[in-house]
Amino acid sequence: MLKNALNTLLVIALTLVLSACASVAPWQRGVLAQPSMALALHPAQAIFKEHIYISREAASGGGAASGGGCGCY
């Protein structure tokens, strides 16, 4: 299960990275700079939701310390 998922993910990642050879010049990055393309769409909302998810699901967040709290309810 784990191995399969890892392999799949690795293949997807490599394919995408390798297919990204096309260079995108700085003046072509207007679309990428739009707020809708941001990696974090709603940062404040995410803080609230992540704390709820962590209090209700076993899979904890992405790794970085986003905050404490037992969430023991």
């Binding site: 299960m1 998922a5 790794g63 023991c72």
Partner: protein, 885 residues
């Protein structure tokens, strides 16, 4: 299509500040890099920090306030009605982010959550009847069900295959019953507060972030720190992130005194401290986390991000409030029906957990509708045997120039932990009585702990299930500076939703929703050339400031006197009462309180408060439709905490009384909302007068109950711990402000009049009258000090809590509202107070943050004359931030 593309690019370029770059270099046909000037410009553009991935708006200085609400649905209890309110959480978040210099960014977050409600503490076979109806005899002789109470230790019958058997009321067996049910218990309100910061230093292609913070709640405290590095390369098409974080958390959980006596804690004896009547579980855990991320621009309209994270957690990883039900059946019993004994044990988890996270996110711009599609997948694996998958998709759809609507869907699925069981079966007796022939005595042999698994938990977070949720977030940008956001998500947790099947039974299904609303203020928009060109901001900043601002503790002390001016502010107030008890202005002894604090001579007091803390967070949004009228909206968020002690000389506790001490009470959530109009009456160079007319809307709760304790319902929590007034209140004020050179002075009369005879809970707080006068001196053009005097008069509470019927030791009483101490009596509210205030005000005079002003004031009590019996006051702190546009 090409033309459209150019328009979009130019719009985005304007936003991201590339305009200078483009005006020099028209992108009609990008030539090859041998063109030297182009090369130089490209390099210059690349040198801008964060050019690639962070849209400029995310990099700008901003302040954001958010309110979030979480509400769970009721769980199915099968055998009895579930009258308990499920878990709900009120959450407040304040975020501030600003640049200390071109390369140094600072961010600060403050979060506060208050939660309460019923949640599973364990799981048991339905036939164990663990959620017992609370039955009560009414005066007319009827028996009615008024609620459900958890019974952790019960007896049941099983067959030879250890399957629970259902019994009819007459004792006959009605067949097998494998149905499970959660055992629910109420959690009284608890508040968590967290502060954290992030300091970033940015070089041209790299950045380093240092973060840290602390989270404090009654039973849990976490301290955490993190270090993150970022490196852009490949002409900023590729970004690498590397992060390391550490969290150290201490548990000191007061085990519930109602359920704790019925829970076997033998494995944790070394960690449990006995403090008076309380048992406190101590534990420490540490979490180390590392992550590696890669973000790659794929083309002009798509990017991809992948990350891998590893977390190692060690120490006390249990949830101190979760118990495992163990069914003990002595297999040596004869016959086809065996007696089983269900016993609750504190859950036991491994002291170590290694977790792996893999994630990928793909973001594609959809040119047709100018939308963006975000697709996210995460895989989680740990050595507790849990594999989990999370899929998320967001469709970000801008509509017009100022609206964005983002529908979202999320699916989550996880396996159960290896040691998860809804309940455990142990084929031995919990305790066996044996007869010793030699000595002729009976002795009891306890269960053999070695026959139990080393780890076990019935926490449903560790069970196998799936969850499907969906929602929408709406953003509206009112101006460059002000944006609003509202979000909603509905979430359904079900065993049947688990990927591949095999999830937990439907008894554990539940649902919830999350809603949030936020106000975002972009500080940089004010300093932008657009604002300066209009002369808008500069004009306003001067126009509002007649000089020194009023002290931070004075509300309505300031008027926007420019039509269409706008102000956003935040106000924090903290007040503490502690120390001696007063009767009038005199010290009250315990004996006086016992005899007089609970209604003269009618009943003796047993308890008295030791402290009471109140914090209030207010958002202050103000707009001037004309130059003589301002309208204001002020939502509030409150939290309160108090503790009680036994009075010396109190008579012994009688059944039916509010007896718990030491653990304290807390409440928190949305308070009342103020709606005000300020009207300019006089506006001369030296003298200014304005009138305030306002309403306070009863949005705060006034019906928060105490939790059922010791088999007793306890009615409403004390008047002063409720979050609002419960009534529509009229709040007039009259303010005078004078100013001459560096000196300023002012005075204000203000009042609160309750416009209703009583609120929904049966009482009203007393009317308030306040007068204050102050003087201020500007030390520098940006810093001033104030001194003021305040007199406040508040009447006592009138009316009283509506009678709350409840069950005490199986008897339904017409009124179980607490009457144990002065805080439970309307006569011990209000009083006459003198205070002296010392304040500092500062205003940022120039730079990117120009126009931001800050104030702080400490109110020191000088004289206190309370109604009835009340705690002395220690003082109050006010802090404000304001920004005008």
């Amino acid at each position: 299509m090409a033309a459209r593309q150019v328009v979009v690019v130019v719009a985005a370029i304007k936003r991201t500040g590339w305009a200078r770059f483009l005006t020099v270099n028209k992108p009609k046909k990008p030539r090859i890099a041998s063109n030297q000037s182009l090369q130089a410009l490209t390099l210059a553009a690349l040198a801008l920090p964060g050019l690639m991935l962070n849209p400029a708006c995310a990099e700008e200085d901003e302040v954001e306030f958010q309110y979030g609400h979480y509400q769970e649905g009721k769980r199915n209890l099968f055998t009895t009605i579930n009258t308990k309110n499920p878990i709900e959480v009120d959450s407040l978040l304040g975020k501030a982010k600003f640049s200390l210099s071109d390369r140094v960014k600072f961010a600060f977050n403050y979060t506060q959550d208050t939660w309460s409600g019923a949640t599973p503490i364990s799981t048991a076979p339905r036939v164990a009847n663990s959620n017992r109806p609370i039955l009560a005899d009414t005066p007319s002789g009827q028996t009615i069900t008024v609620g459900a109470s958890p019974y952790l230790n019960t007896q049941l019958l099983v067959n030879r295959n250890y399957i629970p058997l259902k019994q009819k009321p007459n004792g006959r067996i009605a067949g097998q019953d494998t149905q499970l049910v959660h055992i629910l218990s109420m959690a009284s309100p608890e508040t968590r507060k967290q502060g954290d910061f992030n300091l970033a230093y940015e070089w041209d292609e790299t950045a380093l972030d240092l973060g840290g913070g602390i989270s404090v709640e009654n039973d849990y405290e976490s301290r955490f720190g993190s270090l993150n590095g970022r490196w852009d390369f490949n002409q900023k098409l590729t970004r690498l992130n590397l992060g390391l974080s550490y969290t150290n958390s201490d548990t000191s959980a007061i085990l519930d005194h109602d359920s704790s006596p019925y829970i076997t804690k033998s494995e944790f004896l070394g960690q449990i401290e006995q403090s008076g009547a309380m048992k406190i579980m101590h534990g420490n855990r540490q979490d180390w986390s590392s992550s590696l991320g890669l973000t790659q621009i794929l083309n002009k309209e798509a990017l991809f991000s992948a990350n891998i994270g590893y977390t190692r957690s060690t120490g006390y990883l249990e949830n101190p409030y979760k118990a495992m039900s163990i069914l003990f059946v002595d297999s040596e019993q004869g016959g086809n029906r065996l007696n089983g004994e269900l016993k609750a044990f504190l859950e036991q988890r491994p002291n170590e957990r290694n977790q792996l996270n893999l994630g990928g996110r793909f973001i594609q711009h959809i040119g047709l509708t100018n939308a963006a599609l975000h697709v996210d997948y995460r895989f989680f694996h740990d050595d507790w045997g849990i594999n989990a998958h999370t899929f998320e998709a967001d469709w970000v759809q801008p509509i017009g120039r100022t609206w964005t609507i983002t529908p979202r869907i999320r699916y989550y699925s996880q396996d159960a932990a290896d040691f998860y069981q809804p309940y455990l079966l142990s084929k031995q007796a919990f305790a066996k009585t044996v007869y010793n022939e030699a000595s002729g005595t009976f002795s009891s042999i306890p269960f053999d702990a070695r026959l139990l698994p080393q780890n076990f938990s019935s926490d449903q977070r560790l069970s196998a299930y799936g969850a499907l949720s969906g929602g929408v977030t709406v953003n509206k940008q009112f101006s460059k500076a002000i944006g609003l956001e509202a979000g909603f998500e509905y979430y359904s947790h079900a065993g049947a939703l688990k990927m591949g099947g095999g999830g937990e039974g439907s008894y554990s299904d539940f649902d919830y929703f999350m809603a949030n609303a936020s106000l975002k203020v972009n500080l940089a928009a004010m300093a932008s050339p657009a604002f300066a060109e209009q002369g808008h901001h500069a004009h306003h900043a001067e126009a509002h400031h007649h000089g020194n601002p009023a002290p931070a503790g004075v509300m309505f002390g300031h008027l926007l006197n420019q039509a269409h001016a706008f102000m956003v502010g935040y106000r924090f107030m903290y007040g503490r009462q502690s120390g001696d008890m007063l009767h009038g202005s005199q010290l009250a002894t315990d004996r006086q309180i016992v005899n007089g604090g609970c209604g003269s001579g009618v009943q003796a007091c047993r308890l008295t408060p030791t402290y009471m803390d109140m914090s209030m967070h207010m958002l202050d949004i103000m707009y001037a439709p004309t130059d003589w009228l301002n309208v204001m909206v002020m939502p509030q968020f409150m939290d309160m905490a108090m503790n009680l002690r036994q009075l010396a000389g109190a008579p012994p506790v009688q059944p039916g009384e509010h007896v718990h001490t030491g653990t304290g009470h807390a409440t928190g959530g949305v308070g009342d909302t103020g709606l005000y109009a300020l009207i300019k009456l006089l506006d001369q160079p030296v003298h200014h007068v304005h009138l305030g007319l306002g309403l306070s809307a009863p949005t705060g709760d006034v019906d928060i109950p105490l939790r059922r304790n010791h088999q007793q319902d306890e009615g409403f929590i004390h008047y002063g711990m409720q979050l609002g007034s419960g009534t529509w209140d009229f709040k007039p004020s009259l303010t005078y402000i004078g100013q001459s050179e560096a000196w300023s002075w002012g005075a204000q009369l203000s009042g609160t009049h309750r416009m209703e005879d009583k609120n929904q809970s049966g009482f009203t707080f007393g009317d308030i009258f306040q007068s204050t006068a102050w003087g201020g001196y500007g030390l520098t053009p940006w810093l001033s000090t104030t001194v003021r005097g305040v007199y406040t008069d508040q009447a006592a509470v009138s009316g009283r809590f509506n009678a709350t019927s409840g069950v005490v030791n199986g008897v339904l009483l017409a009124n179980v509202n607490p009457k144990a101490g002065p805080m439970d009596f309307p006569s011990s509210y209000g009083g006459r107070y003198w205070d002296v205030g010392f304040g500092l005000n500062a205003r940022v005079p120039s730079g990117d943050l120009a126009g931001n002003s800050f104030g702080v004031e400490w109110l020191q009590p000088v004289s206190t004359d309370v109604n009835g019996y009340q705690l002395d006051r220690e003082g109050a702190l006010s802090a404000t931030w304001q920004l005008m546009f």
